[in-house]
C-alpha cells in the first residue's frame, strides 16, 4: 500500500529530497524565522496563529476553535491560558450552555496582532518568493489538506508552547 500511490518520478528521488524531509526542513527554517521576527512581540507563532483566527472569527466556542485549527484540546487549553494571562484573549462560560467556553480576542489582543502582522508578511514573502500567485494558493491548499488529514495523535503535543517569552 505504501508505494501504490507513488509515481515513478517520486521513486527516483534521492531520499534526502523526499517531500517528508523537505517539509521537516522547511518547517524548521520557518520556525526559526518566526522566532527571530516575533521576538519583539513577545509571542510565539502558535499564539499569533490563534489570535489571528480569533480576530477573523469573532467570539467562538473553545471546541470549534480547536476543531478549526486542528489543535488538540489540551494543547489549546495551554495556549489559551497564556493568552488569557497576558490579557490578549478572554474566556467566559456560554450563557446558553454552561459547560461550554466562549473565547474572544481582547482590545489588547487586537493591538498585539497588529505588531505581528508585518513580520509575518515578511516571512511569508521570503518563503514563497519564487512561487507564482497560483502556486502560492495551491501550496496553502495542499498544506491545509495535509493538516486536516493528520490524525489527532499526530497533532498531540503540536503547538505546545508553555509560555510567552
Amino acid at each position: 500500500m505504501a508505494s501504490a500511490t507513488q509515481s515513478d518520478q517520486m521513486d527516483r528521488l534521492v531520499y534526502i529530497d523526499r517531500p517528508a524531509l523537505l517539509l521537516a526542513r522547511v518547517g524548521r527554517i520557518t520556525e526559526r524565522r518566526f522566532a527571530e521576527e516575533l521576538k519583539a512581540t513577545g509571542m510565539k507563532a502558535a499564539h499569533v496563529g490563534i489570535l489571528i483566527n480569533l480576530r477573523e472569527l469573532g467570539p467562538v466556542s473553545q471546541q470549534s476553535l480547536g476543531e478549526l485549527l486542528h489543535i488538540d484540546p489540551s494543547n489549546l487549553v495551554a495556549l489559551l491560558n497564556v493568552l488569557e494571562e497576558e490579557g490578549l484573549a478572554t474566556r467566559r462560560r456560554d450563557p446558553t450552555d454552561r459547560r461550554r467556553h466562549i473565547v474572544e480576542i481582547s482590545e489588547r489582543g487586537f493591538e498585539r496582532i497588529e505588531q505581528a502582522e508585518t513580520p509575518i508578511e515578511r516571512i511569508e514573502d521570503e518563503l514563497l518568493a519564487r512561487l507564482s500567485p497560483e502556486d502560492r494558493e495551491q501550496l496553502r491548499a495542499l498544506l491545509a489538506r495535509i493538516l486536516e488529514a493528520a490524525s489527532p495523535e499526530d497533532l498531540e503535543e503540536d503547538a505546545v508552547v508553555p509560555e510567552l517569552n
Partner: protein
C-alpha cells in the same frame, strides 16, 4: 481556517519531525542524524559546511550530531587535503548499511502524512517545497540562525 502558508509549514514541519522521531526509534537515530546519513550516502562525501547548509543545521549543533555518528562508526571526518582548515565528512560501510532503515522510516511517515494526496499533488507539493528550500538557502547563506532540529 485563516492560517497562512508560513503557519502551516511551521506546524506540519513539527508534525513531520515528530513522526520521524517516533518512526526512527528502532534505529537508534535522531531525525537529523538519519538525514545526515541519507545525504552522505545519496550525494557522496562533502565538507562539514556544505552538509550544514544543505540540511539547515547550524554549525554547533551539526558538530554534536557528527560526533555521535562518528562515535558509532557510521561516518568519518577527514581534513580536506586542499584546505587543511576544512573537514570532509564521509559515510562508512557501516553507515551505508544503516541508511536503508532510515529510508524506510522516511517513506513510512511520508505515506502517512501525504495519504490524502494524489501522485500529481505530491509532485506539485514536492516541486513547491524545493523552490522554498532553495530560496531560503540563499537567504541563510548571508545570515546564520540558531534553530535546532530535534
Amino acid at each position: 481556517m485563516v492560517e497562512s502558508s508560513a503557519f502551516l509549514l511551521a506546524r506540519l514541519g513539527r508534525v513531520a519531525s515528530r513522526q520521524l522521531t517516533d518512526e526512527l526509534l528502532g534505529t537508534g537515530l535522531k531525525p537529523t542524524e538519519a538525514s545526515i546519513l541519507i545525504m552522505l550516502r545519496d550525494l557522496g562525501p562533502m565538507s562539514q559546511q556544505a552538509l550544514g547548509e544543505r540540511l539547515h543545521v547550524d554549525p554547533s549543533n551539526l558538530v554534536a550530531f557528527l560526533n555521535a555518528l562518528e562515535g558509532e562508526g557510521l561516518l568519518v571526518r577527514k581534513r580536506d587535503p586542499s584546505d587543511r582548515r576544512r573537514h570532509i565528512v564521509e559515510i562508512t560501510q557501516q553507515g551505508i548499511k544503516r541508511a536503508p532503515g532510515c529510508d524506510e522510516c522516511v517513506v513510512a511517515i511520508e505515506d502517512q502524512l501525504l495519504a490524502g494526496l494524489s501522485a500529481e499533488d505530491r509532485e506539485h507539493l514536492h516541486r513547491m517545497l524545493a523552490h522554498v528550500i532553495e530560496t531560503m538557502a540563499l537567504e541563510e547563506s548571508s545570515s546564520d540562525g540558531d534553530g535546532d532540529f530535534d
